[in-house]
Symmetry: C2
Subunit: 330 residues, 2 copies
């Protein structure tokens, strides 16, 4: 039997429903998994008709009953108002969270082997009263694994892990602690080995400051925090190197030597990643007991329902989820 | 007569002397300018012999006497110890500063039309007792133009201006003021018009925080500082837009619509810039009364004297200096 992949619908007013339907339209993804979408069925039927697709649906009450060759639906109730398409609402936030929680339970209970999440809106989930910033902290909470997770972005040319993610730039430097940097290296190393199937992965760690602090003139975090963290992880047998100045690192060819780059903050990692990903990046949460991937884009409210959103990143997210499932089995 | 371009030698223990000699070796740069190198002649003779080049030198005491078709030398005295190649020293720092100052005087006094600076070491100039962080603040001080300058990086695909440059990441957010953002937009606009010859330039301004602050959840600087600064400059008739989330901006095709991107800090602008520049980027200081460009790389002490440094960025810096001279004349 093909592995079951649970897919949470994301924000129903964004491009999530569209990209996941497109991803499975005439797709060889049906050859590698049994997909189960968690969300209000009427949302999927609406977009299915709007886009003129010809997918075959199958409603399930247990993800393990998912059929091959069909898009299985696990109903998560909610009100869908087409006038709200293109904007975050309390209801779209509530449905986003319910879909993730329900899909997560299926994976936790071994009814499905991996979770793929369509994009949600931070604003909508805040309207719905959620204390979470996004998927990563929400899933870490559901799994009760504290902060011991790492967001990794992956494409054909690079894998990037982030020490801090959704943090205002003003607070980034004070969040860069030796413990956090070591955690990122350790989780990144584990993910490369277990999820990516890389033997003896090489990890490059970026600096926080311009020119890696320029010998202390432009900041001391490299000497006081990042280098000691790298050296501590080296003593554990991990092939970590750095800290490298970020601008020079990405422009030089030696970056091809590394399996994973650890960036200190969101834009430092995501600007070069997205510049190279060409719309095909995948987001992986390392450190969770379950397998979880997602496309690397957001809800894109501005183009919701226009029919122009690319499903490439969603497709890659499903492929990659299945690859991790296989790698973890080995 | 061709314009005279004054070139400061940079740190004599780095790759500066090598790349400037290589840039003029069998080069059509002699067709567009009369170059004058400011530095200790014995340094240039040493590298000239080491690299096996066949350039014709001409010593001058007044840059205006520079000859066409030869590499003119303006002697700046200093001790050159070949054992020190590859590391910053007090003497290499002192010579770096003297060369820049002497070359600057030639441009200020209209003996030369532009200044191109080879890379210096922040560490070396600090050893020599300099209070400056680099070329930009040094030249701003020599010109007595206060902080009213803007560092712009330019290559075939994009121009990037930086609101803050050599600032520890911890201090970046507090340096982002409405005045500084407006200054960057205003100087960037002027440079596009006068130095780059662009009519009605379009300027994209990046956000400081991830996701442009995500409606305030990830930081308030976009709403409180950056957007009001953009709107104030729009009222002055400048076509500025934003703030755009940095990761999405560089990955999207609409960046091709903009003549200049204003980044809030060093790595935000330089990571995507260098990833695209392929070693051919040029650094321009806008806001100075004189024309000044430089290559976008550093002293690269690790490969000094190995003969492997690329002169492409130095060549582009000389070309671009001459282009600005012509644009300012029009």
């Amino acid at each position: 039997m093909l592995p079951v992949i649970a897919i949470s619908i994301g924000d129903i007013n964004g491009i999530g429903p569209e990209v996941l339907l497109k991803a499975f339209h005439r797709s060889d993804l049906f050859d590698i998994c049994r997909p189960v979408v968690f969300g209000p069925p009427e949302v999927l039927h609406h977009y299915h008709a709007l886009l003129g697709l010809k997918l075959s649906f199958h409603e399930v009450r247990d993800a393990a009953d998912a059929r091959e060759g069909q898009l299985n639906l696990f109903s998560v109730p909610g009100d869908f108002v087409t006038e709200d398409i293109g904007r975050p609402t309390e209801e779209s936030g509530r449905i986003s969270i319910d879909a993730i929680r329900t899909a997560y339970f299926s994976v936790r209970d071994d009814k499905a082997q991996a979770l793929v999440t369509a994009p949600i809106s931070k604003e909508a989930i805040a309207m719905a009263g959620s204390p979470f910033h996004g998927h990563t902290d929400m899933l870490a909470s559901f799994c009760e694994c504290g902060d011991d997770v790492l967001m990794i972005l992956s494409n054909n040319t690079m894998n990037v892990g982030l020490v801090t993610v959704h943090v205002p730039l003003r607070e980034v430097a004070s969040r860069i602690t030796r413990e956090e940097v070591e955690r990122a290296i350790r989780l990144g190393h584990l993910a490369m080995e277990e999820d990516f199937g890389v033997e003896e992965p090489r990890i490059a760690v970026l600096a926080l400051n311009p020119h890696a602090g320029d010998g202390g003139i432009l900041g001391m975090e490299e000497q006081r925090i990042i280098l000691p963290a790298i050296e501590a992880q080296q003593r554990e047998g991990i092939r970590a190197e750095g800290p490298f100045p970020a601008d020079g690192f990405f422009s030089a060819h030696n970056r091809e030597l590394y399996d994973l780059v650890i960036a200190m903050y969101h834009d430092q990692g995501l600007v070069p990643f997205k510049l190279q990903a060409m719309g095909r990046g995948v987001n992986i949460t390392a450190g969770l007991p379950i397998v979880r991937t997602s496309p690397d884009h957001g809800t894109a409210f501005g183009i919701a329902s226009h029919g122009i959103a690319s499903a490439e990143s969603m497709k890659e997210a499903v492929y990659f989820a299945r690859t991790i499932v296989l790698n973890r089995l080995q």
